[in-house]
Symmetry: C2
Subunit: 242 residues, 2 copies
Amino acid sequence: MRAFYKLPRLYVTGEIVQGDDIVLPKDQGHFLSRVLRRTVGDQVRLFNGNDGEYLASITHISKRETVLSAGEQIRTLEPPPDIWLLFAPIKHKRNVFIVEKATELGAALIQPVITARTTSRINIDKMQAHVIEAAEQTERLDLPQIRDAQKLEHILAGWDKSRTLVFADEGGDAKPAATALAKIKAPAAILIGPEGGFTADERAMLRAKPYCVPISLGPRILRADTAAAATLALWQAVSGDW
Amino acid sequence: MRAFYKLPRLYVTGEIVQGDDIVLPKDQGHFLSRVLRRTVGDQVRLFNGNDGEYLASITHISKRETVLSAGEQIRTLEPPPDIWLLFAPIKHKRNVFIVEKATELGAALIQPVITARTTSRINIDKMQAHVIEAAEQTERLDLPQIRDAQKLEHILAGWDKSRTLVFADEGGDAKPAATALAKIKAPAAILIGPEGGFTADERAMLRAKPYCVPISLGPRILRADTAAAATLALWQAVSGDW
């Protein structure tokens, strides 16, 4: 099994069936031949987010197209724990970071949230490319779903109350993260506020929900991207699949 | 106390003495007047990494210089726990990320490490600017020390055996991170390998040291920057000051 880790790993859309030909999109073909310098006969691994991982071998490379022949399945899908990440978009560079880290740290769903102090937008199409790249890197077999941004009130209005919603709160009585997260099992979600934090109204609204748990992330002020990665890692370590 | 959080926070070199004038470097003066649009009479906060935090008010702004008058001390220095981060340099963008996150997550010292598979260099002077910026943001009163890169063998040869060295290891018998880190108290250090990981020789060398503890960071492969932020956050949550 571990020897396969050395083989390039590509995300493809559509079904993977042993023996079938798969034509790669031009940029992936280029990446494989020019950047990784693979040629006809070399092996790669394929995943599509739903069907585990397959071996494949390169049967044709030209400037115009790269064709693979799908081989045997080498891993079956084991979806990561049911943990969501909700975050208020910030600068583009930091949004990319959050989406990449959420994918590596095993978030099942990524939901951008518009709060009162959210001043940035997010381009979901661009984020999807970062999700795929991070999933390829991290040996994940599924892709986290990424949703369009929605207002916080709207998200809470449709919330499934069986899913605990953890949010980082600077209020004095929030519990230390490790203790609180150890008690919060899947399905769960983590909500990270914007730069400048939640408003007093938003905090009151969140704290009034029976499914919301405020946590504290220590004495230093963390940027939103740091808070997102730290909370997801912590949850995976104490209640997830680490 | 919390009201002060709204005031800009600047790192200055040199002593801060109540009543003394402090002339800001040109870029900080520009940032204060042009970006933050502060004028004479406005208050700011100052820290120098050693003496806690002081109020100061702007007494002069011109194109040529910005002068502050130092006021009373509002916070005394409480250094974060004695945790170090050792990491093998990767791409510049990701080195910046590691240094920024290490500062936010309370590392006391940042040590770049050259391992067998380390192919990237790191510019410590540039990193120092990111340390300062992150410390300003994160309400930290000290700055992590950042050292010049050194070879792994050299670092281990001079290691103080009372400091536990945690390293992320993909070997099968490494303990889950949360359990292992909960037992590791300061002084401690976290070592993150390069892309491609440690060599078999390096892993054997590390594992032979009585002060080294291998930990596992779950079933997904994490990039080095993710592993650094995740491990530091976890340690702070279970054995540090969170």
